[in-house]
């Protein structure tokens, strides 16, 4: 452990800097006291900052009108993911018009870099980056989001409906 020995002739000059610092603090204190609306800091747990609607927060898997998962398990998001945090297991659906769907869809959020490539790669609007960002957990396993969490967590109130509709696609002959 090393100790820094200040030389006496250096230590004479600290007092003016402290005054300068105090002055800045006092300036902001008075400024904030005079007009509270323009205050930058928030009282965090009580007040929360509202982000832009384009904020890339935690992932949401969208659902179809009937509440089933929209995802077709094409794995383009997983292919595109630079952090390799998406793991999908596909299976055959009983309905031949659906054909392929994910039985497991896991995102390791601790690995995720929130780049949004998955959202852009998705051909059927099945994955979106939602507005949430406050997602604490007590151990590592809580940061691996499974399909139920991604699509049906309580905050989503029964799931976000995808803009891509199967019936309409079928009608328009796609």
């Amino acid at each position: 452990m090393s100790v820094v020995n200040n030389t006496p002739n250096k230590s004479n000059w600290y007092f003016s800097s402290i005054l300068g610092g105090l002055f800045i603090t006092a300036k902001h204190l008075i400024k904030n006291l005079l007009n509270k609306d323009k205050m930058i800091t928030l009282n965090y747990p009580e007040e929360k900052y509202e982000y832009s609607p384009r904020f890339k927060g935690n992932h949401v898997l969208t659902v179809k009108k009937d509440g089933a998962i929209r995802c077709t398990a094409c794995m383009l998001c997983a292919t595109n993911c630079p952090a390799e945090c998406i793991k999908i297991t596909a299976a055959e659906h009983n309905d031949p018009t659906v054909e392929k769907f994910p039985i497991a869809y896991e995102i390791d959020v601790l690995r995720c870099v929130f780049c949004g490539f998955c959202e852009e790669a998705c051909p059927v609007d099945a994955i979106r980056m939602g507005p949430e960002w406050q997602t604490p957990g007590s151990n590592g396993s809580q940061f691996i989001y499974d399909i139920n969490h991604l699509a049906y967590r309580p905050q989503l109130k029964g799931g976000v409906v995808s803009v891509v509709d199967e019936v309409e696609r079928h009608k328009s002959g796609i």
Binding site: T72, A73, C74, M75, L76, T79, A90, A91, E92, P96, T97, E99, K100, P123, V124, S172, G173, I174
Partner: protein, 524 residues
């Protein structure tokens, strides 16, 4: 041997060969779907149109025989435009569901559309709806909408498997592939139809939805399903092997392979494998890595007098391994464990043989070369009489083709000491209740070597992947079991001095620039 000119390049082809074959010979690009070198010519996709000098109408390359001095070209604007349109005709009723199609990534339509496509399709009408997810049989699923009706699969069942299950039904744009009433596609070669399908219309039930193909690497190897030794490509990634496809070899398997051989990748995967070595001493079982087990087993081998030691080999290992075993053990008590002895010489006329080992011929040759002529019955007798106390068994990898496996395990369990080397785990090993070692070995995908097929043809193959990393090959195990250390092939030493300016693996700046993603402002 007529000579012709293809796009200005002269080529000499075999008598009676078509323009398409000349294109193949020159490795020149030509769009085609229905033509397959292993099948008859159908001439229905109409993509391979070419200009022949002196012929006013464009002809299809697959059905036009080359004549002396023919001048062929497919580079004119007229031909290119025609190909674009015909490719667009293929696509107007194709569902374009590439994201959920298993073929995406290795699809003929995708590849050829990138090269010859029209890009601005003018189709604005609704597409024809056909049947989805049609169950054709135990192995294959059909999606009629994706089908481009090249009729390769129909011709395959007609000409190669000669079972005629598939046919074309209905007319016009409602035409569909299908099986006849009450019949299903269940021949022993049915999965070849999936291979030759240029689109994702026929998919294998086994591989369906398990992986996207771009996650898979592939490596060429030799099929161990039977003594034919088909040349195959194994597709694998870090999760294990996923499928097997045939590779063209004129002398062995042509373009095809059997369905049985396609299942051979399964036992290689970790869930079937012996992952750790078992050591059994006086009913006490302990687990350890393979190398340690082999080293400890050497003590057993050393304490056995050489006439009381027997080595049992199966036809599932490579020639190199047999050589190493026979050289290291120096015993004449080497026995050949033959499975399915009655149907050994069966042959179905196309590929499948009754001998379900890849290397029976190789083992026989190695034993003959070492001057070993033994009889299996001698082993059984000496085991029961106690004349042999220690057996070293190189057990089979593919347990499914060894119906006598349980009996043989029980037979070997009579010996005082058993050293059993195996790639796959089996419940039968519980029969060993005294001194026994079970040592994991590498499967055929994890090692390089040579197999000798039924006709005596030596086929070498390379290592594809590693699944059980500490498992030993049979030669490594034989070194350890005889108290030697495994010889390590030393890589040739690099030159002592390299160019001062540059490391050997340095990426040069011009190469780096090529790989860099250049963001152009405004281009999005």
């Amino acid at each position: 041997m007529p000579k012709c000119t293809i796009n200005g390049q002269e080529v000499e082809v075999k008598e009676g060969s078509t323009i398409m074959q000349a294109f193949y010979q020159l490795d020149q690009g030509i769009a085609h779907y229905c033509y397959h070198p292993g099948l008859s010519v159908a001439g229905v996709c109409r993509l391979c149109v070419v200009d022949i000098e002196g012929n006013p109408r464009p002809q299809i390359a697959c059905n036009t025989v080359v004549t002396e001095g023919m001048k062929v070209s497919n580079q004119s604007e007229k031909i290119k435009d025609g190909v674009k349109w015909i490719l667009d005709f293929h696509l107007i009723n194709h569902p374009l569901d590439c994201p959920i199609c298993d073929q995406a990534g290795e699809c003929g339509l995708q590849e050829q559309y990138m090269e010859y496509g029209k890009y601005n399709s003018e189709m604005a009408e609704p597409k024809v709806k056909k049947h989805k997810v049609v169950d054709l049989g135990p192995t294959v699923v059909l999606d009629s909408e994706r089908c481009i009706l090249c009729s390769r699969c129909v011709r395959f069942t007609d000409e190669v498997s000669k079972t005629n299950e598939l046919g074309l039904f209905n007319r016009g744009d409602k035409t569909e592939i299908g099986t006849f009433e009450g019949k299903e596609l269940n021949n022993k070669y049915s999965l070849n139809t999936v291979d030759i399908c240029p689109v994702g219309a026929l998919t294998s039930k086994d591989f369906r939805f398990r992986q996207r193909v771009w996650y898979l690497k592939n490596s060429e190897t030799v099929c161990t399903g039977c003594s034919t030794g088909c040349n195959v490509k194994v597709y694998y990634n870090k999760e294990g092997a996923f499928r097997v496809k045939p590779v063209f070899n004129e002398n062995v398997n042509g373009h095809w392979m059997c369905d049985e051989g396609r299942d051979i990748y399964k036992f290689v995967n970790i869930e079937h494998r012996q992952t750790l070595a078992h050591k059994m001493i006086g009913g006490q079982k302990s687990e350890m890595p393979a190398g340690q087990a082999a080293t400890e087993a050497f003590q057993v081998v050393k304490s056995t007098p050489s006439e009381k030691l027997a080595v049992v080999l199966t036809g599932q290992y490579t020639n190199e391994e047999y050589e190493a075993v026979l050289k290291n053990f120096k015993t004449k008590n080497v026995f050949h464990w033959k499975n399915l002895e009655n149907s050994m010489n069966d042959f179905d006329g196309l590929l499948i043989r009754g001998d379900k080992n890849p290397n029976t011929k190789g083992l026989e040759a190695a034993m003959k070369a070492a001057g070993i002529h033994t009889n299996w019955n001698d082993l059984e007798k000496s085991l029961s009489s106690g004349a042999i106390t220690t057996v070293v068994v190189a057990g089979p990898e593919n347990l499914a083709v060894y119906p006598d496996f349980a009996d043989k395990v029980k037979l070997m369990a009579q010996a005082e000491n058993v050293i059993w080397m195996t790639a796959c785990h089996s419940e039968q090993f519980k029969a060993f209740n005294q001194s026994a070692f079970v040592i994991p070995t590498k499967s055929y995908l994890e090692k390089a070597g040579t197999f000798t097929n039924h006709a005596g043809l030596n086929q070498s193959f390379k290592k594809a992947t590693t699944i059980v990393s500490h498992a030993l090959t049979l030669s490594e195990a034989s070194f350890l079991l005889t108290g030697q250390s495994i010889p390590i092939a030393v890589a040739p030493q690099a030159a002592a001095f390299v160019d001062v300016d540059r490391r050997a693996d340095q990426v040069m700046i011009e190469n780096r620039k090529k790989n860099e993603f250049v963001f152009k402002r405004g281009s999005l």
